[in-house]
């Protein structure tokens, strides 16, 4: 049921009871649906969205465009696997357009990211070229605007 998935995608902390109330269902029905989605790996996990800039943790994020030569029989999948198995890789997408794979990587420092590209990513056989773009500032992620502090400006009239 897509409506429930959307609600959880926006707020994974909604309880079964709250979901049941919002969707007009029984609590047991909600629990069964969630269990089914988890079993089928439709729901893959529940994570918090954190603005690390507000903490003392140092980190940099980079988007790396990767051009590759597809392998016979297995296409891009084998190469993708070689890349996404590195824990530094945050996200990996196969793209249409001027390059093939978009790698989102998080490191402690620019040096660390540069090291990853030079020593781990570029040497992979079939990787033809890489182009690294560092993220300067994160304004919005997963639909959430960073830094904004929403204030209820309404006054009672209606």
């Amino acid at each position: 049921m897509n409506e429930m998935l959307q609600l959880l995608e926006n707020n994974a902390r909604l309880s079964e009871e709250q979901l049941a109330m919002m969707l007009g269902k029984e609590k047991g029905e909600i629990r069964a649906m969630i269990e089914k989605f988890e079993r089928e790996r439709v729901i893959l996990g529940y994570k918090a969205l954190i603005d690390w800039d507000k903490t003392d943790k140092e980190s940099v994020t980079a988007l790396i465009e990767v051009k590759i030569t597809p392998q016979r029989d297995r296409g891009f999948d084998r190469i993708a696997e070689k890349i996404y198995n590195y824990p530094e890789v945050e996200s990996l997408y196969l793209m249409s357009g001027a390059f093939d794979l978009a790698v989102l990587i998080e490191g402690k420092t620019m040096k660390e990211v540069a090291y990853f590209v030079a020593m781990k990513l570029a040497p992979i056989e079939d990787v033809v070229a890489t182009s690294t773009h560092f993220v300067l500032r994160k304004y919005k992620d997963k639909g959430v605007i960073f830094g904004a502090d929403p204030v209820d400006e309404r006054i009672t009239n209606g």
């Binding site: 109330m21 919002m22 007009g24 009672t156």
Partner: protein, 388 residues
């Protein structure tokens, strides 16, 4: 010394300030209060609609529009009304107003004379009676009842009609009860009005916000359509309250009379808002649907939450309010709400603010996040369980 009191005519002096505002003023500057009093979307106007307004300013569109509103907007409203509610108003029958409020006032001023009677079903939004009194007409209230799902029944209407009845106000979907009128309900009203000269002011400002079934406009019902003046606007459906933009659609013979008043009193609705409204009318359906779905989830949540703590609650089918019955707690709705505010820091509006028959009820708005509603419910439960 000027005697200012003597300068104010009694019709104005006798108007009482809004009971909603009065209660809001009690909350004052308190920051520790969880308020569920607001009758305004918590969503900001969708960005693409705001951009359309900004864009018009950048292009220097800062002049008056024609009195009845931009042609492009009236055409868009006409097409929207046909698409969404299957009703036929030509652009020449549509007047763009400063909010739905002006649409109501304008209709009154065009139609009412001293001695006329205006029938107003209650509980209802606070403006219908006071604005009627200003024209010298007399509001005649009909109490709608919880056991009738707060709908106007043909029997009650028939009993209220006199030779002086000029206008029937139909405020559905209803603020504060969340009641709607179905097509069958409206057909029954049409039957009562058949053969009379009574006109209908249908305030359909919440027409986009119905749950489980599509809103039926008065203008879609044979027998009502030709006597309907439709008032609506952008505030509730498109989260555009601050833009102050609404419209009124009227039978062709009445339209020019309304236009004259608007022409002299207002000139034209704000131009920037009109440009934004064109975008809302032509590309805003998906935004409305998304907001409606969110309101619906909150409505279910709040209704189920109230019922689970033993507060009976009529199943609202429209707008963004629920209207629980609090009579079993043995105090007036004003006392109930004051105590809830003072002792537990939750603000809701007493039902009596919406007419005497709202006594025993309270209006709770769900134009708030589920988290916010959830916090309020916890406190309401603590309050009501102290009576068990």
């Amino acid at each position: 010394m000027i005697d200012y009191e003597a300068c104010i005519p009694s019709a104005v002096r006798e108007i009482r300030p809004s009971g909603i505002r009065k209660f809001f003023d009690l909350v004052g500057g308190r920051t520790d209060v969880i308020s569920l009093t607001i009758g305004e979307p918590d969503f900001v106007t969708p960005w693409h609609i705001r951009v359309a307004g900004i864009d018009s300013l950048e292009r220097g569109k800062t002049y008056y529009t024609s009195n009845s509103g931009m042609k492009e907007l009236r055409e868009a409203i006409s097409a929207y009304l046909a698409r969404r509610f299957q009703i036929a108003y030509a652009p020449s029958q549509i007047l763009v107003t400063v909010g739905g409020s002006e649409a109501i006032d304008l209709t009154y001023r065009a139609l009412l004379a001293p001695g006329d009677e205006v029938i107003v079903p209650q509980p209802a939004f606070v403006c219908y009676g006071p604005l009627a009194s200003l024209t010298g007409a007399a509001p005649v209230y009909i109490d709608t009842r919880e056991e009738d799902d707060f709908r106007l029944t043909p029997e009650a209407l028939r009993a209220a009609i006199t030779p002086r009845t000029k206008l029937l106000v139909l405020p559905y979907p209803n603020n504060p009860t969340g009641a709607i009128m179905t097509r069958e309900d409206l057909e029954a009203i049409a039957e009562v009005l058949e053969g009379t000269n009574i006109l209908v002011l249908s305030d359909e400002i919440y027409g986009e916000l119905t749950y489980g079934r599509q809103h039926c406009s008065c203008a879609a019902v044979p027998g009502l359509a030709e006597r309907t003046i439709l008032a609506s606007g952008f505030s509730k459906a498109f989260a555009m309250t601050g833009w102050r933009l609404g419209y009124v659609a009227a039978p062709a013979p009445i339209f020019p009379q309304m236009l004259k008043i608007h022409q002299y009193a207002i000139m034209c609705a704000p131009t920037t808002a009109q440009f934004a409204a064109v975008e809302a009318m032509t590309a805003g359906d998906a935004d409305v649907e998304e907001m409606r779905n969110e309101y619906n989830r909150r409505r279910r949540y709040l209704t189920a939450g109230l019922r689970s703590i033993g507060i009976g609650c009529f199943e609202a089918q429209g707008a963004f309010y629920v209207f629980p019955n609090i009579s079993r707690f043995g105090m007036t709705s004003e006392t109930f709400c004051e105590r809830l505010l003072n002792e537990y820091g939750v603000a809701i509006v007493p039902g009596s603010a919406f007419g005497a028959c709202g006594e025993g009820f309270a209006r709770i708005s769900y134009a708030y996040s589920v988290e916010h509603i959830s916090r309020a419910l916890d406190k309401i439960e603590k309050f009501t369980s102290s009576f068990k």
